[in-house]
């Protein structure tokens, strides 16, 4: 799909001939996130989708207690220090952003009175500023009014390096100014097609100026409000025990009518995913459990009891295989997998193509992941009907054999192929995790049939994913021929996500293996496209560039997507939770209720 095609599609949406949702799906098939697709539409002057709420209760409170189970407990409640999603979720009970993303990638105004658009003058043609109109009459839980000063303060707080906020990446390259008491302007240094990151979604929760102002910068740790949040959310803070329990009570002055439904909410932490699934689906002790990293087989068995169900939403997580572009077995200047070397086998495109043909994604989905892993050839969910257009995947041992034969890899006496004295022997590593070891087995069997000798290696997750410079088994060192893990797309805008294939991001000894290009695959064309996307004013052209980058990376067969991993949660039967794959689980906690 190129720029022209993309423009045609957008025009079709504008004229109402192509449904919005279909557009989002089509673009997703080419590797763009749903929020990104929505942004394309707003820039092109298509009005924001009016997101209808399915919320039914007609009065506040009366719903009893909502019991949430997080198998990793929240450890702190300041969204600007939230290291993992568990902390973001804990904070999200009390704090709100200006807008959130729903499951289709649409923006839903929360503390904003209306969404910025071309029509209302919120978005300017140069892409360098956004005007947000704030909702009036919103009160912090202590009764103070929520104003533009609070929004400006959040930028100052996060962008100050001394605060050491983890959200700094979102706020450091922009400026925020107050227009009036309920209007702010966000100014970008350079044209920023993806304008809805600051103050939106997981990194956009807003903390009160009047309580945090004395604790900006180096004193940030001392703020008592770090542990006793005062937000604008539908639930007020009651109690917090780090790593164990967060409790809140209904905010009877909430700024939306008839909300919240529950009288109190509690988020219990600890334990493991399987027993959390049991506590919700099988015994109904809890109403909701997050991040069910449980095999589908177990979930299906638990669901037979009928007390709860597993709920699945799409997101941006991809389980993929990387073929090392460098030689992991030769040490150059104190590092293996050095850029000065080339991989003995994978430099041959035929070997890479054969490897891609030998990965039985469908079996991996059917026999291992079930609903929790959908076979894909792409870096994003790939709806059935657009598969023909997108990069195709197939599992075909004969074809793999033919490709290898044609390239001159001849079988030896032991059945292992060789060429120019180099045997087709590879070591394939991943972290220890039952589904991954099963996937390794499936791939190894197929490789045997094609005359490739594969040695499997499994590394403890805490070592594999660590950034320990001294350990040779980390995934960033990649001292191995092939490896498999899940890459997560934490931001809706792909700019940061896609830098993991650029040449200057290669993980090396010089950058202590902190570079993000772990496969060490390099392409001039990709680098050029990435640079072009970085500064392109035109959002549509930029989107087309991302699609091209995705094609390049996947097309090289150095990066082989296996399954797309949606987010799975467990829910009690009567609970109606509004979930989104692009935002926190609790992004719209105010709309959660129980069917009587």
């Amino acid at each position: 799909m190129d720029e022209l095609e993309l423009k045609k599609l957008i025009a079709a949406v504008k004229h109402g001939t192509l449904p919005r949702r279909r557009f989002v799906r089509m673009v997703a098939a080419f590797g763009l996130t749903a929020p990104m697709a929505t942004q394309l539409l707003t820039w092109s002057g298509v009005a924001h989708a009016q997101v209808k709420s399915a919320y039914k209760p007609t009065k506040r409170g009366g719903g009893g207690a909502l019991k949430l189970l997080w198998w990793q407990g929240a450890t702190l409640l300041n969204p600007h220090f939230a290291v993992g999603t568990k902390d973001q979720e804990g904070s999200r009970i009390f704090y709100e952003p200006l807008a959130g993303y729903d499951d289709d990638g649409n923006f839903v105004p929360i503390l904003a009175a209306e969404l910025p658009s071309v029509q209302n003058g919120g978005l300017t043609a140069d892409g360098k500023s956004v005007i947000w109109k704030l909702k009036k009459g919103v009160q912090w839980h202590d009764g103070k009014p929520f104003t533009a000063d609070d929004v400006v303060f959040n930028w100052e707080y996060s962008a100050d390096p001394a605060t050491a906020a983890v959200t700094i990446g979102t706020y450091k390259d922009l400026k925020v100014e107050k227009i009036d008491s309920h209007t702010v302007r966000v100014l970008f240094d350079k044209p920023t097609p993806f304008w809805a990151e600051a103050f939106c979604g997981t990194r956009g929760m807003i903390i009160p100026k009047h309580l945090f102002e004395p604790f900006k910068g180096a004193k940030s740790r001392d703020a008592p409000t770090n542990l006793k949040p005062v937000g604008t959310g539908a639930y007020r803070f009651a109690d917090f025990k780090p790593g164990d329990m967060v409790r809140g009570t209904a905010n009877m002055n909430y700024h939306e009518p008839n909300r919240p439904f529950f009288d109190s909410v509690e988020m219990k932490g600890g334990g493991d995913a399987v027993s959390a699934a049991r506590a919700v689906i099988q015994t109904a002790e809890f109403d909701y459990a997050w991040n069910m990293q449980v095999e589908d087989e177990i979930l299906l068995r638990l669901e037979q009891g009928g007390k709860g169900r597993a709920e699945i939403v799409a997101g941006g997580n991809i389980e993929h295989i990387q073929l090392n572009a460098t030689d992991p077995w030769t040490e150059v200047d104190g590092e293996r997998s050095s850029l000065k070397t080339k991989h003995a086998l994978f430099t041959d495109p035929a070997v890479r193509q054969a490897m891609s043909l030998l990965i039985d994604r469908k079996s991996v989905q059917d026999h291992i992941y079930g609903r929790t892993g959908v076979a894909t050839a792409n870096f994003l969910n790939n709806p059935e009907k657009f598969r023909s257009k997108a990069t195709k995947f197939e599992f075909n041992v004969e074809k793999a054999n033919a490709v290898l034969d044609a390239a001159g890899w001849k079988r030896g006496a032991d059945g292992i192929r060789a060429k120019d004295g180099k045997k087709l022997k590879v070591v394939f590593q991943t972290s220890i995790n039952a589904p991954r070891q099963k996937t390794q087995q499936i791939i190894k069997q197929a490789c045997q049939k094609a005359g490739i000798d594969m040695e499997l290696k499994a590394v403890v997750a805490s070592v594999f994913f660590s950034s320990d410079v001294a350990n040779p088994d980390t995934y960033t060192k990649f001292y191995c021929d092939m490896q498999m893990y899940t890459t997560t797309m934490t931001q809706p805008d792909p700019q940061v996500f896609m830098n993991q294939f650029t040449s200057d991001e290669v993980a090396t000894k010089a950058n202590k293996w902190q570079g993000r290009n772990i496969s060490r695959w390099r392409s001039d064309e990709y680098d050029k496209a990435f640079q072009a996307a970085h500064s392109d004013l035109d959002p549509v052209r930029r989107a087309a560039l991302f699609i091209r980058m995705n094609e390049l990376a996947v097309g090289s067969n150095h990066i082989i997507p296996v399954v797309f991993r949606p987010r799975v949660s467990a829910q009690a039967k009567q609970l109606r939770a509004v979930l989104s794959g692009w935002d926190n689980d609790l992004w719209l906690l105010r709309d959660w209720y129980k069917e009587v």
């Binding site: 207690a65 700094i168 990446g169 979102t170 780090p242 950034s467």
Partner: protein, 319 residues
């Protein structure tokens, strides 16, 4: 007696210092980084991580960090958790009541069972009661708590649906209901721990009793015409308790350490689960504080056991 105690007390000081140095060095050398999650998140610039490391003093050499930590510790400042940025002593105090309640009551129950069953079995060796108690004890301590815990959950929570298996330290009800809910959720973790402990201790009590019961002075006491009750309680039990005290005292620190596995299974927010979470998050100040408290407790209870010996058998102090 005073000199004996003083000597024991003086030995404690170098022990504590030695333990703290070893612990600190091991933790400092162990792989991992409290801000690892930040390193793998592309949206967080590496400077944030560097900044946090500098702010929390993680970039200094181990020796400098040890001196800073120990001087602060002497002044009563335990430092703060890297993960939650809460003071470590607050974190431990938050978890302490639950740990004391759950593990404490399981130890009390275990002790009662062990003493009653052990003494009764020893007075009637090889009777039917003794055989049954012996078999049960063997089964009890052969089954690890993670197995019995899951078995209990399967039986009482999932099949019978009688008891909850997620422990909640703050229950928002009041009055009798509050008491009842606490009682209900404590049944499983407490009995899993109590049965395991009781099984071990029963065997100790029984064998210690049998060692003593055959001694000449017991026969003398019986031939003096003392009632069997007095012979057992005053003459046998008191002497048989000496080895039992050692065993029990050495296991006391686990009250504070919590039963890590059981706490994890039932999600009991005790010190054990705090320790596990801290280890997984590489949260050095918390690991350091908890393990340090634990090792101090081991030393303390050793000391108490020494004192208890003196009380049970005054001859020990002069030897």
């Amino acid at each position: 007696v005073g000199q004996y105690l003083l000597r024991q007390l003086l030995i404690v000081i170098p022990k504590v210092i030695g333990i703290s140095i070893v612990l600190f060095t091991i933790l400092a050398l162990a792989p991992g980084d409290p801000f690892e999650e930040l390193a793998t998140n592309p949206a967080v610039p590496p400077e944030v991580r560097a900044n946090l490391r500098a702010q929390f003093g993680l970039d200094d050499p181990v020796a400098v960090r040890y001196v800073r930590w120990s001087t602060a510790m002497v002044k009563g400042d335990w430092g703060f958790s890297f993960a939650s940025r809460v003071n470590v002593d607050d974190l431990i105090l938050q978890r302490l009541p639950t740990t004391l309640l759950v593990i404490g009551s399981s130890i009390v129950i275990a002790l009662v069972i062990a003493l009653v069953v052990g003494i009764y079995a020893a007075t009637r060796p090889y009777s039917l009661f003794d055989q049954i108690a012996g078999t049960l004890a063997l089964i009890g301590f052969s089954l690890p708590t993670f197995f019995t815990g899951i078995l209990f959950i399967l039986l009482f929570s999932i099949t019978l649906d009688w008891l909850p298996f997620v422990y909640r330290a703050d229950i928002s009800t009041t009055g009798w209901r509050w008491f009842w809910e606490h009682f209900k959720q404590m049944i499983m973790p407490v009995s899993v721990l109590a049965l395991f402990q009781a099984a071990q201790w029963t065997r100790y009590v029984r064998s210690a009793m049998l060692d003593v019961i055959r001694l000449d002075y017991v026969t003398t006491a019986r031939s003096k015409g003392l009632a069997e009750r007095i012979v057992i309680m005053k003459h046998v039990v008191r002497n048989a308790l000496i080895p039992v005290v050692t065993i029990v005292a050495l296991q006391m620190p686990t009250i504070f350490g919590g039963a890590i596995v059981t706490e994890q299974i039932f999600r009991v927010p005790g010190i054990g689960s705090l320790l596990i979470a801290a280890i997984l998050a590489n949260d050095t100040p918390v690991i350091m504080a908890v393990t340090f408290v634990l090792s101090c407790l081991v030393i303390l209870f050793n000391l108490l056991a020494d004192i208890a010996y003196v009380w049970l058998d005054p001859r020990i102090a002069y030897r």
